[in-house]
């Protein structure tokens, strides 16, 4: 699978999707003008990835800000990896939040109340 690297902008995140490394990373800001079209290639890539995943998948979220439409997509992404984890695959989600950003920390905690998946919380 070809890796995908998307350079972030003021309203879209940096995205790294690398099957060889098992690395899936989103960082920066997410409030795209059109959430569906921005994330469509990402979700297509993930659909392929979960069919033949790396022996270990590391999913990193290091976002400063995301809007509510993106929050729904983030949940969809986590659910892909919940399936992988349920199949016995090695998956770890790392949720990064700025040390002053309580809301971002809470958002992570809430996702892991919904999605049953191994995770770590990291402040920076």
């Amino acid at each position: 699978m070809k890796p995908i690297k998307i350079r972030g902008t003021e309203d879209t995140p940096d995205v790294i999707l690398d099957a060889t490394k098992g690395l899936i990373e989103f960082s920066g800001r997410s409030l795209p003008e059109d959430v569906l079209s921005f994330y469509a290639p990402v979700l297509r890539w993930l659909e392929d990835y979960i069919k033949s995943p790396n022996s270990r998948s590391e999913v990193i979220f290091k976002l400063d800000y995301f809007n509510t439409a993106s929050s729904k997509i983030i949940l969809d992404i986590l659910i892909y990896f919940e399936h992988l984890s349920n199949e016995g695959k090695d998956v770890i989600v790392k949720w990064f939040y700025h040390k002053d950003d309580e809301d971002m920390a809470d958002a992570g905690v809430e996702y892991f109340e919904i999605v049953n998946i191994p995770y770590e919380m990291h402040s920076y």
């Binding site: 800000y65 509510t68 729904k72 949940l75 809301d103």
Partner: protein, 191 residues
């Protein structure tokens, strides 16, 4: 016929804005470009007086959700050539509180009367919930809701209520048999 007196009008707008502590008033088409411009304007302004980080985040957050609601849900939303959306509405940001330490964001847009009951029920439902109730509603909507064609997830208003911890102060003013004007005021308090 009375001559159009722009001088009086400009001066009275100026006084209205200062008197109400409005820092930004905009009436017209709301697009993604406008959303980006207004949020960065507000961020720069808040940086200039070293506004507290959490307050800044909250204001930014509420602004984005309010502006995206206007661009996607006003009754006359149109699809732009570059696939974006534009809706018409009024957007105001101002300072409130005894020492003007808080912010409020006011929006208004025209909607079809037929949409009023559903929106009103949705707003009332949000206003009747406490912190935990809002959290559960947000989760439920994320899980069960689907993104509309316009990228709306039905989460914006719930999120505003959660982030601000305030009730959504809304009204519907009937324009005629077909249309109403929907107003929403969101307060972001320093707590």
């Amino acid at each position: 016929m009375k001559k159009f007196d722009y001088k009086e009008l400009v001066y009275s707008f100026h006084k209205e804005m200062l008197g109400n502590n409005f820092t930004l008033v905009y009436e017209g088409e709301i697009t993604h470009q406008i959303t980006k411009a207004f949020t960065s304007l507000a961020e720069n302004k808040m940086d200039s007086y070293s506004e507290d980080t959490n307050m800044k985040k909250k204001v930014f957050h509420v602004m984005v959700e309010c502006l995206q609601n206007l661009s996607k849900h006003a009754e006359d939303v149109k699809i732009l050539k570059n696939k974006g959306y534009a809706g018409n509405g009024i957007f105001i940001i101002g300072r409130v509180g005894p020492d003007n330490e808080d912010y409020h964001i006011l929006t208004g847009n025209v909607i079809d009367n037929s949409s009023v009951p559903e929106l009103e029920a949705f707003l009332d439902n949000i206003n009747n919930l406490d912190r935990d109730g809002l959290k559960e509603l947000y989760k439920k909507q994320m899980l069960e809701g689907t993104l509309s064609e316009k990228g709306g997830a039905g989460l914006g208003l719930i999120d505003i209520a959660r982030k601000t911890g305030e009730k959504l102060d809304y009204s519907f003013i009937k324009i005629d048999e077909k249309k109403s004007f929907y107003t929403l005021r969101t307060k972001i308090s320093r707590k």
